[in-house]
């Protein structure tokens, strides 16, 4: 059975890949991609069941923090029932998003600011090397150049240093990293096509 799964996966992958270069295969490629989108939609539903199963287990076993799992399950079922009854465009359902989800995510974003500041302070204690010093100095320079400072304006930082770091050092480094990531993605994809990596299971 696993050989059949591997054969189907590799054949599908090859057709989709070749479809980008051979126009004759574009229609088959399009059909396969549409099937994938439908399957991904079903997977989203299965993912929700997975969430219910994991947190249901936590509540049943009364594990540490199970109260949060219970709140999650109650909220999930309440949103589901109200969503079905009222529809996603109802003002109350919109309120659920704008009054609960958006503020909670914004709060986490704010927490992240403090977390990153604290992490930067600890960085030199954790890794006391040249790259860490360069990283921190660059961060401080960019902050000083971008921030609106009271009473003073350090114009050379804003006019010269910041554009140079952004457009020369950062852009060059980012392009280098992205080329490396693209090559890694290419070889990872080829390994899947060769059947060496089988994320769909099989020995």
């Amino acid at each position: 059975m696993r050989y059949v799964a591997a054969a189907i996966a590799i054949a599908t992958g090859l057709i989709v890949l070749v479809g980008y270069f051979v126009p004759a295969l574009a229609s088959v490629q399009s059909i396969l991609l549409n099937w994938t989108i439908i399957l991904a939609g079903v997977a989203a539903l299965v993912g929700v069941f997975n969430l219910i199963s994991v947190h249901g287990d936590k509540v049943r076993r009364r594990e540490k923090g199970s109260i949060y799992s219970a709140i999650l399950l109650v909220s999930l079922f309440a949103s589901f029932i109200f969503g079905i009854a009222l529809g996603p465009d109802h003002p109350d359902m919109r309120l659920l998003v704008s009054a609960v989800i958006v503020p909670v995510e914004a709060t986490l974003m704010a927490l992240l600011t403090v977390t990153l500041l604290y992490a930067s302070i600890r960085l030199l204690r954790r890794r006391n090397d040249l790259m860490s010093i360069v990283f921190l100095l660059t961060a401080v320079l960019m902050l000083a150049a971008s921030a609106t400072l009271p009473f003073i304006e350090i114009s050379p930082l804003n006019d010269l240093v910041r554009p140079w770091i952004q457009n020369v050092l950062a852009l060059g480094g980012a392009r280098g990293i992205l080329i490396g990531v693209a090559l890694g993605t290419l070889t990872t994809g080829l390994r899947v096509l060769f059947g060496a990596d089988r994320p769909y299971g099989g020995k």
Binding site: A44, T188, R198
Partner: protein, 245 residues
């Protein structure tokens, strides 16, 4: 343009196949990446002391161009599942995307079966932690805190929210390896993770855990292609300088 891209893919495929045949006979000879050496130790240690490993695969859908990173993460997960299949506590893999969580379950199960320990596999060890970036991070943080995790790996496509997971691991004093393809996330992980991986090092993780000849060959192919790109960039610069293009 299409022909150049097709040529690159075919060239890489032939090179990968050819090098993998030669790699079967010779032992790999790579540069040392300290983070991956420490990861290998952390995996072995977790089996010995009966603690859990935590792997977060990020939130990228495999249907997008960012799908390479989670595939690399799944490759690493497979190696870890094989090496820890007889551990008292199975590794936990989380994803911020449903299909990725399903693949994580499948990969874990396949790893256990490959080692003849299929009955030890627990379906809840592959989980969806949340369906938005921050909810996925918030859903994963209690796992690091409450489930006796000794080493955490963030290998996939994350945003800056990865720093929250790194902070949770730091608070528990556990090992954390952070690798992401997103540039902002790499910067956040460089500052907050104990052992960050930069750029393509993410794709080397499974090869460094003895994944086999094709994994080793793929690192060599990446090096060859990188040198070709460097030469092309230099040649382009020289041609531009002398006004030929």
């Amino acid at each position: 343009m299409n022909l150049i891209e097709l040529g690159l893919v075919v060239f890489a495929a032939i090179l990968l196949f050819a090098i993998s045949l030669t790699k079967r006979k010779s032992p790999p000879n790579w540069r040392v990446i300290p983070a991956l050496t420490k990861l290998s130790h952390a995996v072995d240690l977790s089996v010995e002391d009966g603690t859990r490993l935590f792997i977060a695969l990020g939130r990228a859908s495999l249907l997008t161009s960012r799908g390479g990173a989670p595939l690399a993460g799944l490759g690493l997960l497979r190696r870890i599942a094989e090496r820890t299949s007889l551990s008292d506590r199975p590794p936990v893999a989380v994803a911020g995307e449903s299909s990725l969580a399903l693949l994580a379950q499948d990969t874990l199960q396949a790893g256990y079966q490959a080692m003849g320990a299929g009955d030890l596999y627990q379906p809840t060890s592959g989980r969806v932690s949340g369906l938005t970036p921050f909810s996925a991070a918030a859903g994963a943080m209690p796992i690091i805190r409450d489930e006796n995790v000794s080493a955490s790996m963030l290998v996939g496509d994350f945003g800056v929210e990865a720093a929250l997971l790194a902070d949770a691991a730091e608070r528990e004093n556990s090992f954390l390896l952070g690798a992401s393809t997103d540039l902002a996330s790499q910067a956040a992980l460089f500052a907050s993770a104990q052992e960050p991986l930069i750029g393509e090092e993410l794709f080397a993780a499974s090869a460094y855990l003895d994944a086999g000849a094709l994994h080793s060959a793929s690192l060599t192919v990446q090096d060859v292609l990188r040198w070709l790109i460097i030469l092309a960039l230099l040649a382009g610069s020289v041609l531009k300088l002398i006004g030929l293009i």
